[in-house]
Amino acid sequence: MKQFLYLKYFFAFIFGAAFFSCEKFIEVDLPTDQLTTQSVFSNDESAVAAIRGLYSEITRNNVYIGHGAMSVYPALSADELNVHTGNPTEIAYVNNGIPVNSFPLLTNLWQKGYFHIYQANAILENLSHSNSISPAVKDQIFGEAKFFRAFFHFYLVNLFGPVPLAMSTDYRDNAVIARSDTTAVYQQIVADLLDAQKLVSINYPTPEKVRVNKFAVTAFLARVYLYLKDWTRAETEAGAVINSNVYKLSTLNNTFLPVSSETILQLLPPITQIWNTSEGFSFLPFSSFASPSYSLTNSLMSAFEPADERKTNWVNSMVINTTTYYYPFKYKVKSVAAGAPKTEYSVVLRMGEQYLIRAEARANLNNLTGAQSDLNLIRNRAGLPNTTANDLGALLLAIQKERQVEFLCEWGHRWFDLKRTGRTDNILGAIKGSNWQPTDAWYPIPQGEMLSNSSLTQNPGY
């Protein structure tokens, strides 16, 4: 029976080896290319990297909600752009017949918007649990994250109408989230911006104007109040930016350069990419032989007064087969070699808007002279004489017309202005004919989202 003895030892050895090494053997090294949440928010440096990650993700791709898309799709839906790519997806935006499964609708606008909001929420949640970050850094990052949460909710609510308000990172809540009504979304936007206003510093945290400071928050808040028709607050906030004397209107051709005295917030395009700005890359033609992808509509071109210098400085044209194509020329560089310094930055907020916000607020508050003087600053810069509008109705229309040419193909201003002033049916109905339905003012909720979240409802008309 000696053999049994051997066997016993052997089995004991194997079982022993397996059991004792169990827990230990299957411990693995962490992935080399990732950090755990805890370690990210354990020191200033990596926490700053987290907020930098938000900026970097916003500018990561061309023609996404935070980087170019707002200058293209709403411009197609409104009366600013024609499309020449033959791309059926884009034609659907011009014809105001966006299919519910439209690819950019979900991917470039909705989804990316909520990704950025998640990222902001993740920073807010983890930062509030962290005690090892210096207060100044913490406040600044906190404020920036709040700013962007408000920023993207603002664009979503203006594109889609009532939208889900995503306030946490818990996917179990966010997956079944319903649409909040517009008022609730705006309440949150205002609350976030007011918080941010308190938290971020007056000075930009880094060189150049590519991170959010107090004036960027204030300027955006002015716009939000304008949209809410809270004229008093709009005037106050815009006034705070204007009276700070930090920014002033620049010459037309300097407006979109990094050195522009006018810009309040710019985004730095990724240095490794060949494009300069998403707008420049999208709007400027490939070559002198081929039509640009998009051209400005006749109605937009006819909105320019003859002497308007913006028509020559911010618009360019080319002739292909006797047809003249006008295209946006605010950004003048289509692409640069990858790695080369960027000569233009994507302008998010600028003084021109603050004057027009204040003009509109003042007009509505019956301060017509004040409104005229703000408006005239913008007109004079473009080489135009003072406005002749001197009653409220005419002045408000003059401000809208000024906004149309001042903000052409810039961040969807025209599309949102038409909607908030209730002029979509009149103006777009006349231009687009039978393609235009009143319900087209709101983009459809993407079908993919409807399928994976049964709490969502569709907008009328889709």
Binding site: Q3, Y6, F10, I14, F15, A18, E23, F25, I26, V28, P31, D33, Q34, L35, T37, V40, A50, I51, R52, L54, S56, R60, P88, I91, A92, N101, Y114, F115, I117, Y118, Q119, A122, P164, A166, T169, Y171, N174, A175, P207, E208, V210, R211, L268, P270, T272, I274, F286, S287, F289, A290, S291, I320, A338, N435, G448, L451, S452, N453, S454, L456
Partner: protein
């Protein structure tokens, strides 16, 4: 189906076995006795056994008989001879009369197998003296008092029977050949071997021979339709492309997260890349999924570097009994690949040279330019849109008289392949070796000089000490593969407008004809985008075993596997539209898998009561790492610099690594009661690093039983036409852990771009430590029967696999910040079915034989339960009680004869078409599938042909189409029959040219989501023909063989589309290959 029926009927027509009473017709005049023997051997199943002395004593024969019984003929002939005869089974033994007693001798001998191992317990039987004995532990035997002219018959389970004439010799070394193709053939199973006869589980073996008869370069492709219950699908017909394998149906609800590929084990070592893909860059072979890293269909196959010539056999393990010992990795079956082993014997050289060519098989006929132009104008007319240079540049800016047959241009070439294999093997009783080398080269049907080359080295060494106690075995494979393709499968461009300008007037690649800049790519430009993947693959295994005392073996198996792929891809200036701001770029990728495994084992054999018990116990320690790095350069100043990063103005790189640790203890108890009752119990406890804390360990196990009822006394006493009968069953639990590493961690990853000279961090995924293994509970009951002395073997099995705890990327609305999260879904998927296999020797004569093997599977896949399905994101994808491949869609009811647009059924009659109108409209699972092989041998000629058949519904052309008919794409001829005017009754709607049209909407929102895009995809394919002629086969065992083979020769199908297997006319179909070769062994 008709063909199949005929063949099956033919297979069942047995020639009646000819017995002793069969008729002999002959006429001999003074002929030598040996020529009499020859005639009788030709006319009967009997062979004569005799010595030279006996013939020397014989007298000439004169006889003339017609249709006389053998008995009488023999009596007649031997009446005048000084010889006597006796009949023993198939032998007629001739002895010199009256010589018996004075020539009794004692003989000694040893019985070994081909590996030189002693064969204990083999029966040695002396025919003449009618004496027998079994060999001892060391395979030795002594037989006393037997005739010096005796016939020894040596038999042992698992080996072919050997007959040896004693011929006055007294010392014998008898080598038994391992039985093949019979019940006693060795079958490789987990941690050991068994035989078909004694196996309690479901294991199907495909021999290396069977694989090598097919001129295919991927060993997995050679398994197609050969194994019951296993579906093998080639993703494309390009060299190096992946081959998907599914054993007993689909279990994965979410193929982007887990896969239901079986576990691949090569020589006992789990293959590090399993059956994933190897490429990290996009190539013509397929696209790696960017989200999960799990293989999408297509990609570079990890098996493309392995040569079929190095394969000894492939075993497919299916049921719980066979797979539970693989624990968390056995749920989807296990495929054991065994490479060639050495055999004892004289040094043998083998040289095999083969060459052949391939063409595409099925594809669709497309419109001519005239038809295309008509189609486009018709679409504009239908939509009441005026063609302009911007919306109809193909009509107004392009030459509308030009025609290019893009199918011929892009995929119409002939691919060539050549293959050279050389090996040398041999050795003595203690040491044997096998050395093999091979080279394989294969081109494509694309234009240009693209190819896939492979070089392989295979080494196998075996040594056993003189006392047979210590054994060492080393096997090593080193394979190098160089896959030179392009970045995109050109088949996806065969539908470009046929008037697209390919070359301009000066012979350069043409772009933007008529000055209109378009996104339409000149497909020939893709040939400039070179792609190459260089694979290095080392698979090695060392096995040490020691038998300290009788019945105990301790074993250590250690393996190492290193697979690395070096890729590069270039996008030169010339491959891009010069007016669309071309940027030169190049990408480089390195994907490396390293895995080592150590498995200590102990085995104990002992007789307990009347049975034999075999206990094996062991442990597994495995560590696997995967490193992926990639470098992208762009902004080069010259195409010539694309091979390097130095000329790039911008370089981006990434590198990641992951680690997987796995350990287990396992045990198996096998008990065999007199070859009648068999019980097999296996257990395993697994630990894996793939899961979060507290979810890392789990237990698995199974029980298998078998009853060989033909070994019961009552059967032995009353032998019938049933020669073998076994009923077996098994039940057990296995798991599936095929999920990427670290998925439970919520981590932050450096962002794609930096911002202000600093890298950013962004969240990678949601925190989720709760997911766990998938579980599959397997049940199987099978009957295996042999008839007519095992000439006909049939088996039928019923299986039921229930998979639960499904791992899914639970789709989230993007408001959650991510598109999905991993969860174990409380769903139950059941795969059940019937599997039949048959092998039969239809005719067996001296010069002619005909054998048939066939298999048939009738599977059923069912999503048994899915709590909360209706409110889950899968509500529109799956239906309880239906297959996972359910067609849940609108019901297509034809084209509206008045409006000319597609119509689907408004099920709930609410006058709008919504997903509430979805209905169950069948599924795309195969209804049945199988294969049928026939082998005919006549003298030196062997002829094989193999049919594959599948009955299924699949996605047709209508599902492949990117846009509705009328857009700027060429169309297949079958769309000619479409709606043109009011009142037309057709199945294809009117042509349309833009997305803002009603006809587009009806296509995109209704037809595309209806069952109209499905159709019959059943087919019968003559998968393989092989014909070989043995020119030389002499006594020194020199053989020279010539052969030709064909693969995918023809397909009978009603399928509307490209190939019914790949089900896409925009992907390269499997090719038709013809090859010829020569094999010389000396």
């Amino acid at each position: 189906m008709k063909i199949l029926c005929v063949l099956l009927t033919a297979a069942s027509l047995y020639l009646p076995a000819r017995g002793i009473s069969q008729g002999i017709t002959l006429a001999l005049q003074n002929a030598p006795l040996e020529s009499f023997f020859k005639v009788v051997e030709q006319q009967s199943n009997f062979s004569f056994v005799y010595s030279k002395e006996a013939i020397a004593e014989s007298k000439p024969v004169t006889i003339e008989v017609k249709n006389e019984t053998l008995e009488k003929v023999l009596k007649n002939v031997f009446a005048n001879q000084p010889l006597s005869y006796s009949i023993n089974e198939k032998f007629i033994i001739i002895k010199i009369s009256g010589k018996k007693k004075d020539s009794l001798i004692e003989i000694r001998g040893k019985v070994i197998n081909e590996d030189g191992e002693a064969v204990p317990g083999a029966t040695v039987f002396a025919q003449v003296t009618n004496k027998g004995i079994s060999t001892n532990e060391r395979g030795e035997f002594i037989l006393r008092d037997i005739s010096d002219d005796d016939i020894l018959v040596i038999s042992s389970v698992g080996y072919y029977k050997e007959e040896i004439r004693v011929n006055k010799e007294t010392n014998f070394l008898i080598r038994l050949r391992i039985a093949a193709g019979t019940l006693d053939e060795t079958v490789v199973i987990a941690y050991g071997t068994t035989t078909h006869r004694l196996n309690t589980g479901s294991v199907f073996k495909v021999s290396g021979e069977e694989i090598r008869k097919q001129p295919v370069s991927n060993i997995l492709a050679a398994l197609q339709a050969r194994v019951p219950g296993m579906v093998v699908t080639q993703s494309t017909g390009l060299p190096g492309s992946s081959v998907q394998v599914q054993v007993r149906g689909r279990t994965a609800l979410d193929l982007s997260l887990t896969d239901d590929q079986p576990l691949f084990v090569i020589d006992g070592v789990p293959y590090a890349p399993n059956n994933g893909y190897l490429n990290t860059l996009r190539s013509a072979l397929g696209v790696p999924s960017t989200t999960t890293g799990v293989a999408l269909p297509g990609g570079l196959s990890p098996f493309s570097s392995i040569s079929p010539s190095d394969i000894e056999s492939i075993e497919v393990l299916k049921d719980a009994d066979a797979t539970a010992i693989y624990g968390s990795r056995g749920a989807n079956g296990v495929i054991l690949i065994t490479t060639k082993k050495s055999k004892v014997g004289k040094t043998t050289f083998n040289l095999n040279v083969q060459g052949g060519f391939s063409k595409i098989t099925r594809s669709m006929d497309l419109f001519s330019t005239e038809q295309y132009v008509d189609m486009r104008y018709e679409a504009f007319k239908n939509d009441a849109v005026t063609p302009t240079r911007s919306n109809a540049f193909d009509l107004l800016a392009w030459d509308t008289t030009r025609y290019t047959d893009f199918k011929k241009l892009l995929i119409g070439e002939t691919a060539h392949f050549s293959d050279v294999q050389a090996s040398v093997s041999g050795g003595n009783l203690n040491t044997v070796f096998f050395l093999g080398m091979g080279y394989h080269s294969e081109t494509t049907v694309f234009p240009g000089d693209l190819k896939d080359e492979r070089g392989t080295i295979h080494v196998n060494l075996n040594h056993v000490t003189q006392d047979q106690k210590f054994r060492v075995q080393l096997s090593g494979n080193y394979n190098v593969d160089n896959n030179n393709l392009i970045s995109t499968d050109l088949t996806s461009y065969i539908n470009v407008p046929p008037n697209l300008q390919v070359y301009d007037s000066s012979g350069n690649l043409a772009w933007n004809e008529g000055g209109v800049v378009t996104d339409i790519l000149n497909p020939l430009a893709l040939l400039e985008q070179e792609y190459s993947a260089k694979t290095d693959n080392l698979i090695s295994n060392l096995q040490l075993s020691y038998k300290p005392i009788k019945g105990i073996t301790v074993r250590l198996s250690a393996g190492f596997n290193d697979v690395s792929v070096n890729e590069s891809k270039t996008v030169p200036y010339s491959s891009q539209n010069p007016l669309q701001n071309p940027v030169r770029s190049a990408s480089f990728g390195l994907n490396s898998f390293k895995s080592w495994i150590i498995e200590p084992q102990a085995e104990y054999e002992r007789n307990i009561f009347k049975g034999k018990a075999d206990i094996i116990i062991g442990g597994t320690f495995q560590k696997q790492t995967n490193e992926v790095s990639s470098l992208d350069g762009s902004g080069y100043v010259s195409d010539d610099l694309l091979g390097s990063l130095n000329g790039a103005s911008s370089v981006r790189g990434s590198k990641s690594s992951s680690q997987y640790n796995y350990e287990a203890i396992f045990g198996r108890l096998n008990y065999n009661w007199e070859n009648k009752y068999l019980v097999n119990l296996s257990v395993r406890r697994d630990g894996s690093s793939k899961f979060g804390p507290d979810k890392q360990f789990a237990n698995f196990g199974a029980a298998g039983v078998a009853w060989l009822f033909t070994n019961e006394g009552f059967f032995k006493k009353n032998p019938s036409f049933i020669s073998f009968g076994k009923i077996r069953g098994s039940y057990g639990k296995t798991g599936n852990d095929k999920i990427a590493n670290y998925l439970y961690l919520d981590t932050w990853t450096p962002t794609f771009n930096s911002y202000q000279n600093g890298s950013g961090l962004a969240p990678t995924r949601l925190f989720n430590p709760d997911y766990h293994w998938e579980k599959t509970t397997k049940l199987e009951i099978a009957v295996e029967l042999g008839f007519f002395k095992d000439r006909l073997l049939v088996s039928a099995a019923y299986y039921r696999h229930q998979s639960s705890n499904q791992l899914v990327q639970y789709k989230l609305p993007t408001t959650s910040g991510f598109t999905s999260v991993i969860r174990n879904l409380p769903a139950l998927v059941q795969n059940s079915g019937l599997e039949f296999s048959l092998s039969s020797v239809n005719i067996k004569m001296k010069n002619f034989s005909w054998t048939t093997t066939a298999n048939l599977t009738i599977p059923k896949n069912e999503l048994v339960s899915f709590p909360g399905l209706s409110i889950s994101p899968y509500a529109l994808q799956y239906v309880e009680g239906q297959s996972l491949n359910v067609i849940y869609a609108y019901k297509y009811i034809g084209v509206d004869a008045a409006k000319g647009i597609y119509k689907v059924e408004d099920l709930n009659k609410d006058n709008i078409i919504t997903t509430a109108d979805y209905q169950v409209l069948g599924n795309s699972d195969p209804k049945f599938f199988g294969g049928l092989q026939n082998t005919l041998e006549y003298k030196k000629i062997q002829f094989d042909f193999f049919f594959q058949f599948v009955s299924q519904v699949g996605r047709t052309y209508f599902s492949n189409a990117i846009n509705p008919e009328g857009f700027r794409y060429n169309l297949p001829m079958l769309t000619q029959d479409h709606w043109r005017k009011q009142g037309d009754v057709t199945t294809i709607q009117r042509f349309t040219q833009a997305t803002n049209q009603a006809a587009y909407n009806s296509w995109a929102n209704e037809f595309r989501r209806s069952d109209g895009v499905f159709g019959d995809a059943s087919f019968i394919r003559l998968k393989n023909i092989s014909l070989s002629y043995t020119l030389l086969n002499d006594a020194q065992s020199r053989t020279l063989r010539l052969y030709v083979a064909g693969q995918n020769l023809f397909t009978i199908t009603n399928y509307k589309g490209g190939d019914p297997e790949t089900q896409s006319y925009l992907r390269m179909p499997p090719l038709r290959t013809i090859s010829a070769g020569i094999q010389y062994t000396f």
